[in-house]
Amino acid sequence: MDPLQAIEQALSLAREHRERHVDVVLSRSESLGIRVCEGKVERVEQSTDLGLGLRVVQEGRTGLSFTERLTADTIEKAFLEARANAALLDPTEVVMNETAPGVPDPEVLELYNPALESLTAEDLTRFALEMEAEARRADHRVSTVTHSVARTGRNTYITASTHGVRYTQRSNSVGAGCGVLLESHGNRKSGSYGWSARVWDPAQAALVGREAAQRGGKLLGAKPIPGGKLPIVLDEFTAPALLSMYLGNFHAEAVQKGRSRLKGRLGELIASEDFTLTDDPHRVGAPGSRFLDAEGTPTRALNLIENGALTSFLYHIESARKENRASTGHAGRGYGGGIGTHSHNLVLPTGNHDLEALCALPERCLLVTELEGGSGCNPISGDISIGVQGFLMENGRSVQPVDSVTIAGNFYALLKSIRARGDRYQPHLSSRFIPALLVDGFTISG
């Protein structure tokens, strides 16, 4: 069944069963990925994902269901299941938006580039082969290219409700990733790099392959440094990755359920005074941009931290009504799940230092270029304990590649101890616009 027909059927069932408050999300994604190995194609994956999610609200009770099979029978079954599920819930504060807001055409957000539609498997294969070859050429110590993958994909996401909401947004992208293993004198080290964009650029193949090899090559021979306190610089890749683990603390839902230490701290200085963190849903080309959230609430830019002070949390309808206020437009939903809180594009303004200058500000520091998982990071307490790799820097120059160390600290302390920021964001498609950071107060164990 055609996706729009499927949505109309679901809403028509709602009318038929006199359910006034029903909304539907539908997602359709298509992708093509090519993985090469040793100069030839190793794997080709082509996919079409399709799913429809239903939400029925009965006096504040929210029932959910989903189906990946879009036939009249399965949609009806899903609708009836959502109704039955609603009856089991405790009452919530959910009331659907009563009017369908008018919003600009989502195409102005430039999330979809029609030119990418002409990409072929041959284009991607050539890209992946060139990336692999360049990774090998870049460093003779590359013993294995563990992966060289190029892919493209597109997605259409539709939100509709019995209250007249109809919002369709489409996006697409192209990307690639390369990983290498380098070996020398009994040492082994991995290096990897990726690229994602909305404009096809075959010249990226050589750049990505070379960067993967160079990133691993620079770390080959790394060793621990003695434990103790040392300033650290998180580069423009690791800074957003580390901070992202803790951004759930700004979700009103987390605050209300005791999962955030920010409860009761609105207006307080929680960061250094030149720190302003904004969620920007209308940033052109940014993957998190949208005019309506998953509940049909209009989105708008929102400062979470302004000049160091905590100014707002992120709300969807349920969390907002608990505090007798309006949603900030931060509801997100995949077709298979329920409503959750989702930020759009988080923006921390850049500073004045390039990475080299940032590392030269302290006499000695640890430049962190790789984070090893996040399992030692506790989003609720804010504790940070994580293995890292990078470089010991003295007067802005690398004196030793470093591995087998951990850094330990706390997210809330980190916000107050950011001494300087880098002058650029990482260049790929991302909804996190967070530059490199120079931070004091971390303990290094090695």
Binding site: V41, E42, L88, D90
Partner: protein, 460 residues
């Protein structure tokens, strides 16, 4: 799940276009979830996943494509597209006649979920919430989730395989947040089984609530550990996640076939002390990581990975076995029809050894007892791993001392493995979800308590 003629036509088309091997995988899953947070049932969700995946193998090259549309024309077009994107000069082949295999379910379901009302599940969740909150005033928040899934799968291939299987999963997740002044601490437990509703009925709710809340409460009192290299005793059960990540993944042919594993080329060589034996067993009855057949249709089996310190086997799927030159071990697994299969673990554990917990603790003057591990990750190519300790205690002068928080263990799997010098007899297994190239699959990790002579512990 699919008409025989459709399957026949897909396989025939693939072979006629020069593929060495063609496979059709179809799946229909029914999933249901109930969640309780902040004393309220706040999510009740259910739904159907359905799709068909077609795989063509040309020599070393694998082509995989899937769709939620089961129509013959759609699936033939998808197969044709794959074949067209690979210009082959190979001669057309033919398919073997189907051999319909009837499986004996080795993992019985005694109570099918459909026979139990959702209201009963609500009562169970509320009971678990109450039991957990009753463990102490410091318990500030509790959340619980019941998940059930029935996966019906169908596999046919050009070698004549025609088999169907049904897998019923049940799992409960419980998390407690405790606070005693110095910030909230969270602890969680997530037992699960390849089985029916009887799993929930037979679960010791009191013990689950006590274990979860007690862990959070102890850590709420804890000070931060001072990091450094030290001996560590890893508690039984989920402590096995370190072996899973740091040794199990590099033993999958997915890593070995590219020689991107520290264990590549080391079959028959010592990789650990002689007290260590490690096994990956897909046949354990009703265990979370068990299977009747893998996702390539091969019967699940028990695979000894390391025996008395000697590396014996890798875990292999069809492609990995052929490329590495080892037998298939029934380890081809995938999250769903959205993934091509790859070699993956099932129930992986270190076998019991001769030591006692007391022996291990008494042998350490200053170190860490990691009673419960949190999650972690590994780079299979280098063996570099890191793991969080969910519940830890200092060891001083041969005795377990105060609780400590913030510990992370980091090292390299193949370097740490030979440093396991003592292994207890208290083997326990724990359910988890493992993410890798073929998606998230249910796996069990396990071990007895064991001692690692030295490892880097990150802390403050």
């Amino acid at each position: 799940m699919l008409p025989e003629a459709t399957v026949h036509d897909i396989l025939t088309l693939g072979k006629s276009r020069g593929a060495d091997f063609v496979e059709v995988y179809a799946e229909e899953s029914h999933a249901a979830t109930l969640e309780l947070t902040d004393r309220k049932i706040d999510t009740v969700n259910s739904g159907v996943s359905f799709g068909v995946g077609v795989r063509l193998i040309f020599g070393d090259e694998a082509y995989y494509s899937y769709s939620s549309d089961p129509e013959r024309d759609t699936l033939l077009a998808l197969t044709d597209n794959m074949a067209a994107s690979r210009a082959t000069g190979a001669a057309p082949g033919t398919i073997s006649p189907f051999r319909v295999e009837t499986l004996q379910n080795r993992h019985p379901v005694r109570e099918f979920p459909g026979g139990v009302s959702k209201e009963e599940r609500v009562i169970l969740l509320r009971r678990l919430d109450e039991l957990t909150r009753n463990q102490g005033e410091g318990v500030r928040q509790v959340s619980g989730r019941l998940s059930e899934k029935e996966r019906k799968i169908f596999i046919a291939n050009s070698e004549g395989l025609w088999v169907e299987d049904s897998r019923q999963y049940a799992r409960v997740a419980l998390a407690a947040i405790a606070e005693k002044g110095d910030g909230p601490q969270v602890a969680s437990e997530s037992p699960g089984a390849l089985g029916g509703y009887e799993f929930f009925r037979e679960l010791d709710l009191d013990r689950l609530a006590e274990d979860t809340a007690a862990s959070a409460l102890r850590m709420a009192d804890a000070g931060y550990i001072q990091g450094g290299v030290m001996p560590v005793v890893l508690g039984s059960g989920f402590g096995g996640v370190i072996f899973h990540e740091a040794c199990g993944h590099p033993l999958e042919t997915e890593s070995v076939r590219k020689k991107a594993s520290p264990f590549a080329g080391k079959l028959g060589q010592p990789v650990a002390q002689s007290i260590l034996t490690a096994i990956d067993d897909g046949t354990l009855v009703n265990h979370w990581g068990s299977l009747n057949i893998d996702d390539e249709g091969m019967p699940a089996m028990r695979t000894v990975l390391i025996e008395n310190g000697i590396l014996k086997n890798y875990l292999s799927d069809r492609i990995g076995a052929a490329q590495v030159g080892v037998p298939r071990t029934g380890s081809g697994r995938r999250e769903s029809y959205k993934y091509a299969p790859a070699s993956r673990m099932r129930n992986t554990y270190i076998a019991p050894g001769p030591h006692t917990m007391e022996d291990m603790i008494a042998s350490i003057d200053s170190g860490l007892y990691a009673r419960k591990m949190g999650g972690g990750s590994v780079d299979p190519a280098t063996g570099e791993f890191n793991f969080a300790v969910q519940e830890g205690y200092a060891i001083r002068k041969g005795k377990i001392a105060e609780p400590v928080r913030g510990a992370t263990l980091i090292g390299k799997g193949f370097e740490v493995l030979p440093l396991i010098s003592m292994i207890g007899s208290d083997l326990h297994l724990s359910a988890g979800m493992c993410g890798s190239v073929s998606g998230l699959v249910p796996t069990t990790v396990g071990q007895p308590s064991l001692k690692i002579d030295r490892i880097l512990v990150g802390g403050r």
